[in-house]
């Protein structure tokens, strides 16, 4: 902690030298709530509740004028994207509206367009004076297969005109019968042809089908959080590791081992990357990819997993990283710049052990790689020190966005509460 303080101070000093950028401060009218909106934050940070609840919130984006756009996983009054405005400038939403008759997860905003995904498509709207022009709606990707498990589509844009879309595997471990004890893993796994990866599309071409996209990276069970890192010009993502090692293989894994395996993986995606799902999973205690039991693994042997791409960082199992954001703002102390914020939605597959996650983490970065361990950045969402059942959680962090002044916005999937975190 102390070390970070010193680092932070040194970094801050550089901030004020002519070569550095001037920190942006939130407007004086924006103040943290007395209780920081129920969040526990590092020293110097404050939190405020922007909205008490917009619905079942997913990902979020904030425009240059401060307008907030939140995607919903379930339509509310027939609409799937909520717009929150702050007309008096105190940081709290005082006007809300909604548009689009489709629910879904993904959202990406540029100065010209707002992209939004359903589980079967990606559309975009032109932005006119900071507002969405609903009549300008264009379908960019269409006709995607509808499936429940890992079927949500998260999206990201790069700076070369590409759109990245996640295609989670409709499966836990590519067994012949999904999640069924005694059922073998399919080999090769046919799911990988069309799912279990990230596909790259042209961000400006209309009506592309799945087959028009390029399978950019594969061997990934499910991604919800991904982000283009502008500092390095690379795509990063968070993988949700497999479930149920003990229910499927009780003779090999006890409930404690199953609660701690496999890793949730922080991935650097390059064109052609293969991270090994379903054949492999990552074990952070052995610090390697091992062969999955569905493919004859014993929890130790690597076999074909030896050459698979490794994560840049491994997190405890089942925490469900649902958003990733590289911080580019100047409001937070300089050590946060280009580092990664990660929303851990919180686990369910640790039962009967107590659950974990349910917080926002920060990972410092240097030269495109983590330069230190993760830190708990924001917690207190779920209410209470321990969560036994996910349903007990009052709130679960789900989406992340950066505001024009460098504030961090966080959504909650239970009621759709929206927080703003500022540095004072």
């Amino acid at each position: 902690m102390k070390r970070y303080f010193i680092l932070g101070t040194v970094a801050l000093f550089f901030c004020f030298t002519p070569s550095g950028e001037t920190p942006t401060k939130p407007s004086a009218k924006v103040k943290a709530d007395a209780d920081n909106g129920g969040l526990v934050l590092p020293k110097g940070f404050g939190g405020l509740v922007v909205s008490e609840g917009v619905g079942k919130a997913r990902h979020i984006a904030v425009g240059a004028n401060g307008d907030i756009f939140v995607r919903l996983s379930k339509l509310k009054d027939g609409k799937g994207t909520v717009v929150l405005k702050d007309e008096n400038g105190d940081g709290k939403s005082d006007a809300s509206s909604a548009f689009g008759n489709f629910a879904g997860t993904g959202i990406a905003l540029t100065d010209k367009y707002l992209y939004a995904s359903s589980d079967t498509s990606v559309v975009r709207y032109a932005m006119k004076n900071g507002s969405v022009d609903e009549a300008s709606k264009e379908t960019i990707v269409t006709g995607l297969e509808l499936y429940g498990e890992h079927g949500t589509k998260s999206i990201a844009l790069d700076d070369k005109g590409h759109l990245y879309v996640t295609f989670g595997a409709p499966s836990n471990a590519c067994q012949e019968k999904n999640r069924t004890k005694g059922s073998k893993g399919m080999d090769p796994c046919p799911i990988l042809d069309w799912h279990g990866g990230v596909w790259q599309f042209d961000a400006n071409r209309k009506n592309q089908k799945h087959a028009d996209g390029l399978r950019y990276a594969t061997g990934i069970r499910n991604i919800v959080g991904l982000d283009w890192n502008k500092a390095t010009g690379e795509l990063y993502a968070m993988q949700h590791g497999r479930d149920q090692l003990t229910t499927l293989y009780p003779e090999m894994y006890n409930p404690e081992q199953s609660a701690e395996l496999p890793s949730e993986e922080f991935l650097l995606l390059k064109k052609g990357s293969d991270f090994g799902w379903p054949y492999c999973y990552h074990d952070r205690f052995q610090s390697k990819k091992v062969l999955a039991p569905e493919y004859g693994g014993d929890g130790k042997v690597q076999a074909r997993c030896e050459g698979k791409d490794k994560p840049i960082m491994a997190f405890p199992a089942h925490w469900a990283p649902n958003a990733l954001l590289f911080y580019t703002g100047n409001q937070f102390p300089a050590r946060y710049k280009n580092g990664a914020f990660i929303c851990f939605h919180g686990s369910w597959n640790r039962a009967p052990l107590k659950q974990g996650g349910y917080f926002v983490a920060f990972v410092p970065f240097k030269d495109g790689k983590p330069s230190g361990d993760y830190e708990v950045f924001a917690e207190g969402f779920a209410g209470g020190p321990e969560i036994k059942q996910p349903n007990d959680a009052k709130a679960r962090p789900m989406g992340l966005a950066q505001g024009p002044d460098g504030s961090l916005f966080i959504t909650d999937s239970v009621k759709g509460k929206v927080w703003r975190v500022i540095h004072q």
Binding site: K56, S73, G148, E149, H150, G151, T152, K177, N178, R179, T180, K181, G182, D243, Q244, T246, T247, P250, W348, N349, A351, P352, K388, Q389, P390, N391, D392, R396, S413, V414
Partner: protein, 143 residues
Amino acid sequence: MKNNILIFPLFLAGILCFSWKEMPENQGVSFLKTNAVPDSGKIIYETYCLACHQEDGSGVPNMNPPLVQTEWVLGDSTRLINVILKGLKETEINGDSYSNEMPAHDFLTDKQIAEVLTYVRSNFGNKASGIKEEDVRKVRAKK
């Protein structure tokens, strides 16, 4: 010497645990029963269902449905038995949809299915009649 004192009880516990694990399954269950430990329906629930539906049957929002006062749990027993035998997918439950899929559990015996469903129907705030082994046998035969 000191080490041995510590290791011996561990060793004993190890042997006990090992021999218990080696017991044939039915014997293991009756061993628990005579000790008046939780009913076998509860044990089956903990082994096969708890991961998804959670200890108190509250489920996982958006992923796995609750088993608390749903029409599936309280309603028609044939339909309920079929959920266990055949699994369930992409069905709305009490107005909400769930992304996961309920795998078929036809590898459980008729008796085990009857016991786990009886456990579910009389716990988590549910009050519905028990399910008999005979009921499961009939539904399975029709499959």
